[in-house]
Symmetry: C2
Subunit: 630 residues, 2 copies
């Protein structure tokens, strides 16, 4: 394996994409040094990735590759898509190698790459489930996740090539992609029409095209998208089709998010990748409509998506339950990947706003503070039995969270021709090359997200714009440039267009008072209740902090909640204040009663609210996001 | 076919069941002559059953039997459990024959009986799906609904035998049940251990035992119940197992209702049938616990059960959504059958209360007023696209509703040794034989459920108790016996123990003011809202009656709603009054906002509420049960 290079380690490599408005800043150019993300990413590198590798071994996932290579006669273990767990881990590891030398991780990556190479068939096919006695079943069932696994292989291969220059898996991926391109396509071209049950391969093929320049991969991604909605999918299990798999109508006619949430957002991310290359307006319009339907009708207040159990899917407009919400961690990760592509495509701040919101409140809750247990399901209210697990029979979420944390620095900045866009805030040092301009060094000095004050020290000489994101959650923001008067800043990108000289200090202040947030009146589940935010963070009440049932808490005025740092939760800011708890009388053995018979009293209680991402890291107990307010 | 006899047409024939506290009054002894149920039952006989028979023909269901008999080479049509649709229709038709002569229905019944006989294998096996090329797959997959179909066959056979004396289908059923008894049982008896995926056969086998006296059918029902919870079920589709199919723990350890709702309540109904025969306390305790969990934690305000889509199943405690509620019609029917058995077993009024509640508000909404279209899914809020359908690919609900309506008179009365229990009220004339006492004629004169005044004219001489159910919904009830002072009556059975002579007039008055009903504070979906009841009936708001979105309606004080009769809805009582509608400002393109930014105003609107069972019988529009109250 080659050493970490100074290659262009863009998380999505759109440098030649004709329709990209913004370019991601290469991963290794952004060095986080903050008290929030840096410890989490360190945990990801030192705890999460090593323990996940052990899980891959323990659960037989790695043995599946050995078996396919003829090295063992063990049975296949795990679900049909088990290979993807290894690929996602590998991708997470690959991005992590961008951080610098890590011999043990290098060794594990090399071992896994060899296993994968060994499992590949001579014709390029690569899936450890469909080997030997199952060879004849290859590409016969849409629900078998074959292209899904292939997509994760390609993404891992691209990441590894980008971060290390190692071409082995890229070669294997091209071989497999060529095999697929031979097989799949319109019947009139003498090929096999196909809709894969679980989208994922689309964005992977576009990235494979970007990495290799081979146009047929882009064309194949386009084919897989265009094939949907014409009844091609075939499967034994009927519930998994139609809108569940986004196959009930052509994608360009799909103006809402529907069906299995991970499938939906992976597909839309892939479609956005296609638009970055082709500029197709009809596709972009559909994506825009879907994204608005998601954020305006079908997203939990934490940014979680896909409330329905069993479909792991989207529901009706305003169907946003608390306790029964499914909101799979993978769906949040996929949504972030989709918004990342929409941000590159359009440069619109709303996508960066959602990325931040889902990072903190929908994806991060998926991992425990110690980095070794995971939520698959992320409800907004839960009993004490809902706890993070060390692994799952269907283990898609843990390595997905790991690859998100590994790529996190890539989400902080973008560049356009003569502007630097600052999307996220954290103590950090970054070196950003403007395409047609100077190299800019940006140091962020801040205790974000606990404090909204961000000092940016800009070093660079030349004319360019520094575009600071004023988050959608922030109602009161000011910007002060060295020696100048404080300016009010509105939500959106605050543009500092200057002829920069030497070192410039900018003081951004994002006020973050406690905010009570309500949902649309047609969301029945949270009707009449409030959720609590401070800055970008959603808060919740946990049983361990309260003597009464957290469902009965009544919040005081929002100004009565005060900030405290909580040592046990990595010094997170928690909110404390005087509240009450409702004592409901006469409900024993009753579910419904006459309204006029109600009797309630209240007792004073001290309320403590913790960041939602940090819940279930202490004693087990009930958790509640939506609360009553006095 | 023999003519309708004066046989003992009990819907559940517990005359020899040692643990039955109450005996149902034979079906043909109760003659409804009211303005509510009688037209619905007439529609059931004259419209529903004939059109359903046509559907069975059109959809290939009947051809499946012809195919099995070798009369056609057509392919099997419909889902794997299609046979059960025919059996359920046949059962509904059989009970309907108890009402008197009906040559055309007789002809269709005879035709279907012949088709079924023709499809039966020499060894007794009978399932038109597992014929010919699929013969080797018989009894290999728990999810294949084979015993479910068998159960519906047995129930139809028993009904036909009871109402007409026709033994043909009973003979076929015994042949099949004997075949099953040869095959299934504990491994230590050299038999095939088995858990069927969809409970239903249990209660059918008990009834087959009751009808034939053959003990092995009771034993087989007991075996199928006892086999559950030990991991015996086998199926390709893993999501359909465990708690979904009530196979995650032994039934006696199951203290809650869980999984697929129809499966759950059919299983519990079968277990109750077993207790009626065996008196097993542990089983009765489990049933009691399950029933309380259902009614106190997991039942929608209309009595609908099974809120979750895709599992068609129960959720968590207090997981009771409105618009996403599934609440299958079949589940309500099954719950009524379960409570019917619990009522016989215990004589406790709570079961009769639930029967009435679910009859009016959970089962009846499944059928349109014209008796020709059906709801499978019964949410408590819905958009205009949710309408009853003429039939379904999975058509379990339509014939289930038909058999419930056909058996309805059997739910009105029970007898114990020296008491008549009056469970339901409607204009009617009934002749009731007390086991150890006189024959009692009861005439009910009433406009129930629109009016709570019920005059009962009792003709009979001797000492017995007349037990009048004072419904749980009724807070103010009085009873006046001819020439005596008016007495206050409490909820429960009001016992009139007398030495009856000649004709006695009793005036029961059940006050039915409009009641606003709230849900337990931990039900998030209806928190802060009210539902509206009058007497036994739940009401709702429909779009067609309102100029504004029904979700925005605000009800006035409950005393402000007045009664009106609605001609288009079969003269149903609707509630009208002055209310308001909230105008929510600033929500365009927003799902969440800061609480402090809210602005709302109200406009006056006339509110009309219609009985929930009657919704979606006029112009399509949004419907809402849970409403705000000023």
């Amino acid at each position: 394996m080659t050493q970490t290079s100074t290659r262009n380690i863009q998380v999505i490599r759109t440098e030649h994409s004709p329709h990209a408005q913004l370019q991601p800043v290469p991963l290794q150019q952004v060095r986080l040094q903050d008290a929030f993300w840096t410890p989490r990413r360190e945990t990801n590198r030192l705890k999460t990735l090593p323990t996940q590798f052990l899980k891959l071994e323990e659960t037989g996932c790695l043995n599946n590759f050995r078996r396919a290579a003829g090295q063992t006669e063990l049975h296949f273990e795990g679900p049909v898509f088990a290979d993807s767990d290894a690929y996602k881990w590998l991708e997470a590891a690959a991005w992590t190698l961008a951080e610098g030398s890590n011999p043990e991780l290098h060794r594990q990556v090399d071992e896994l790459v060899s296993l994968i190479e060994g499992a590949q068939c001579a014709n390029g096919y690569l899936n450890t489930f469909f080997m030997f006695e199952r060879e004849k079943e290859r590409f016969t069932e849409s629900g078998a996740h074959e292209l899904y696994c292939a997509g994760h292989l390609f993404q891992a291969a691209v990441a590894l090539h980008r971060t290390t220059g190692n071409p082995r898996l890229l070669t294997a991926s091209e071989k497999y992609a060529n095999h697929m391109a031979e097989i799949f396509g319109p019947a009139e071209q003498g090929k096999k029409p196909w809709v894969d049950g679980h989208p994922e391969v689309e964005m992977a093929l576009v990235e494979l095209y970007r990495e290799t320049g081979t146009r047929r991969y882009l064309d194949l991604a386009q084919y897989f998208l265009d094939a949907r909605g014409h009844g091609l999918a075939r499967d034994r299990v009927w519930v998994f089709w139609g809108s569940y798999g986004q196959d009930h109508k052509p994608f360009r006619d799909l103006k809402e998010v529907t069906g299995h949430a991970v499938r939906m957002v992976y597909l839309s991310a892939g479609a956005a990748d296609l638009v970055l290359e082709t500029g197709e307006q009809a596709l972009e319009d559909a994506l825009e409509a879907q994204w608005h339907n998601m954020t305006e009708k079908r997203m939990s207040v934490n940014g979680g998506i896909g409330p329905r159990h069993y479909t792991e899917g989207f529901g009706l407009d305003y169907e946003l339950p608390s306790e029964s919400a499914y909101n799979e961690t993978c769906a949040a990760v996929g949504s972030i990947m989709w918004s990342q592509r929409m941000l590159s495509l359009t440069g619109e701040v709303k996508y960066a706003d959602l990325i931040e919101h889902q990072l903190y409140n929908a994806a991060l809750p998926g991992v425990s503070l110690d980095g070794q247990s995971y939520f698959y399901v992320n409800p907004l209210a839960a009993g004490s039995e809902h706890r993070r697990q060390g692994w799952f029979g269907c283990a898609c979420c843990p390595p997905n969270a790991a690859r998100l944390l590994a790529t996190l620095p890539g989400y902080f900045y973008s560049t356009s021709e003569s502007a630097v866009h600052v999307h996220l805030y954290a103590q950090s040092t970054s070196v950003i090359e403007l395409p047609d301009g100077p190299t800019v060094k940006i140091e962020q000095q801040t205790n974000y997200p606990w404090d909204g004050r961000v000092r940016l020290v800009i070093e660079g000489t030349g004319t360019f714009s520094l575009n600071l994101r004023i988050p959608a959650w922030c109602e009161q923001a000011t910007v002060k440039v060295m020696g100048e008067a404080e300016q009010q800043a509105q939500q959106g990108y605050f543009q500092l267009q200057r002829n920069w000289q030497g070192s410039t200090t900018i003081d951004l202040n994002l006020e973050m008072p406690v905010r009570y947030v309500v949902s649309h009146p047609h969301v029945m589940d949270s009707s009449g209740k409030v959720s609590v935010f401070r800055g970008p963070l959603l808060y919740c009440a946990e049983g361990t902090d309260h003597a009464t049932d957290v469902r009965d808490l009544v919040l005081p005025e929002e100004t009565s909640l005060k900030v405290q740092h909580h040592e046990q939760l990595n010094n997170a800011v928690v909110l404390v204040g005087p509240g009450t708890s409702q004592l409901q009388q006469g409900w024993e053995h009753k579910l419904y009663r006459n309204a006029r018979d109600l009797q309630a009293s209240r007792v004073a209680v001290n309320i403590t609210l913790v960041p939602y991402y940090a819940w279930a890291n202490r004693e087990a107990g009930r958790m509640q996001v939506w609360l009553d307010q006095s």
